[in-house]
């Protein structure tokens, strides 16, 4: 066996495979996904039965189902991860690990990986469900691969935020609340921030502008689009929608955002790469940063002067 396998991860896998909770969680998850898929397909096919089969409706179901999967991940990952370090603290096994040769980074990554293992298991177990849509001709197998990678990276980022919260807040409850707060900030906070900057910029350009509505100076709209794109590259939902749009040829992201505050200007992204790709890269970077901070904060403030 590999001598370099993270000891914490190895131990967690042994206990997880022995625990009924793991199988329970995964089966509940896949069961729920299957039930939702069946329900949606049933509803859509019933409608189609009247109007004739429309491949577009399979795409709609695929979009909805993967959206639900993203939602479940955003809800589940903090629930699984935000208690990891505090769990060791409460069991009083954290000190026992900190005195060993393992670095704090090893402990943090071991804990994060084992939490993500469950999510990975869920995502992979869900792949056959999505396979149905390949069969329906709604999407390609490549689409599903891209979606899976996107979900995994998003899960990793949310997981590393949750681990950081678990390290920083000694009260488990606060760690949970803080993790969900960060998720909420990424989802809704970025959109609100984009809206606020729009009005602030508009006010600085022309005070009458946002009263009269309609007309937006060219400079403002390009300037704002830069900021908007930057903000949206942190938003998992925006990334997800851009992925869906890229896969299905729709423009749900633009129309979704336009519903909010952006009816004054055309919502267009300025990034060279597709937003979901930017999102993946940024989330990988953020994960590394959060894990590094966690390791730094977990390491006991060592020794001193002598």
């Amino acid at each position: 066996m590999n001598n370099n396998l993270n000891p914490v991860f190895r131990r967690e896998i042994i206990t997880a495979l022995r625990s009924w909770r793991t199988f329970f969680a995964v089966s509940i998850y896949v069961g729920a996904l299957l039930a939702i898929a069946a329900l949606l397909l049933f509803v859509v096919i019933r409608i189609d039965f009247v109007h004739g089969f429309n491949p577009q409706s399979a795409i709609t179901v695929y979009n909805l189902l993967s959206g639900i999967q993203l939602g479940l991940i955003l809800l589940l990952v903090p629930a699984i991860t935000a208690g990891q370090i505090n769990g060791e603290r409460e069991r009083q096994t954290l000190d026992l690990m900190l005195v060993t040769k393992m670095s704090a980074l090893t402990i943090v990554t071991g804990k994060l990986l084992s939490a993500l293992m469950l999510v990975l298991l869920m995502i992979l177990a869900g792949v056959p469900v999505f396979g149905v849509f390949v069969y329906f001709g709604a999407v390609s197998a490549l689409n599903i691969m891209a979606l899976t990678v996107f979900m995994l990276v998003t899960a990793t980022m949310v997981g590393s935020v949750s681990i950081l919260c678990s390290v920083l807040f000694r009260r488990t409850m606060i760690a949970y609340v803080a993790s969900y707060f960060v998720v909420l900030a990424l989802l809704a906070g970025t959109i609100s921030a984009a809206g606020i900057t729009f009005y602030v910029l508009a006010a600085s350009h022309d005070s009458r502008m946002h009263l009269s509505g309609g007309f937006v100076p060219f400079v403002l709209s390009t300037q704002w689009r830069e900021i908007f794109t930057w903000l949206m590259s942190f938003n998992p939902l925006a990334g997800f929608m851009s992925l869906q749009d890229a896969q299905t040829g729709a423009s749900s992201l633009e129309s979704f955002l336009a519903v909010f505050i952006f009816r004054f200007t055309e919502v267009r992204l300025t990034s060279a790469a597709p937003l979901w790709l930017v999102n993946i890269v940024i989330n990988m970077g953020l994960s590394c940063v959060f894990v590094a901070i966690s390791a730094w904060a977990l390491k006991p403030a060592r020794r001193a002067v002598s």
């Binding site: 000891p7 190895r10 042994i14 206990t15 060791e88 026992l96 005195v99 020794r303 001193a304």
Partner: protein, 320 residues
Amino acid sequence: MMLELVDLVKKFGRTTALDGVNLCVAPRSIFGFVGPNGAGKTTAIKIITGLIAPTSGGVRLNGEGLTDRTCAEKIGYMPDFFGVYDNLKVNEYMDFYAGTYYIPYAKRRGIIHELLETVNLSDKYDAYVDSLSRGMKQRLCLARSLVHDPDILVLDEPASGLDPRSRVEMKAVLRRLSGTGKTVIVSSHILPELSEMCTDIGVISRGKIVAAGNVEDILRNLQSARILQMRPLGEPDALINFLRSLPEAGEPALASGGIEFSFAGDDTALAGLIAAVTAQGIGITAVSEKQGSLEDVYMQLTSFSGEGGHADEQQSEPGI
């Protein structure tokens, strides 16, 4: 391995847990760290193991400051609790900690068997950790702290919660370990528990070392205030009155064995006292000295060191 604590100070907010602790633990010794609850034992031990940083001062190993590396390699730590995991077997638990020291897989089996043998848990190799009794968990925890063959073993209250038999076994194991060349540091708030086992003790009270050194040395130093018992012939009043007039004798009290009083003086002074008493015409049928047990020494040290208030706390401790 020589372990030194140098001017160790640790403050938690306004509480001063350690207030300038200086200690030297000789190689291969069994060092007993004794003090009442809240004295600062656990704090000192956590600083030695590198889990918390001192406010000032430091720890030296063979004259050098501790580093992450030396800490992890040279020191084995058994905390005053035993952290265990659900759904993990004894051998897997040991294997996990062997892994945390990056001991190659090939060597682990042998080490684990040997250590479980040392702590008498060989028959529990395949048992689940959370199914073990408290004493067994404690022994497993000891085996765990030995997995990387440390030179110094630091044990925080290893005997707490153990029945008398398990305590004797624990002591035997520790003595055996010290015999193999390891330095053992044990903390406890029960002194007699350490007295038979330790070569040296350090008594800590409210963050200060009030006595440290060889067990016998400490006892001898304290014999200046010994407790004497005299049994007078007939009524004790004459003897009591006479003793009250002597400045070197403490307040006499009636005890079952006669009159009991503390006496500050060496053997010559004691002989003089006996002569003086008989010269007064008081008949003495017996003179004996109460053996100053380590417990008494401890009580004296930890109660006289502070400004009071602490003594009550110690009285209420279980003692033995």
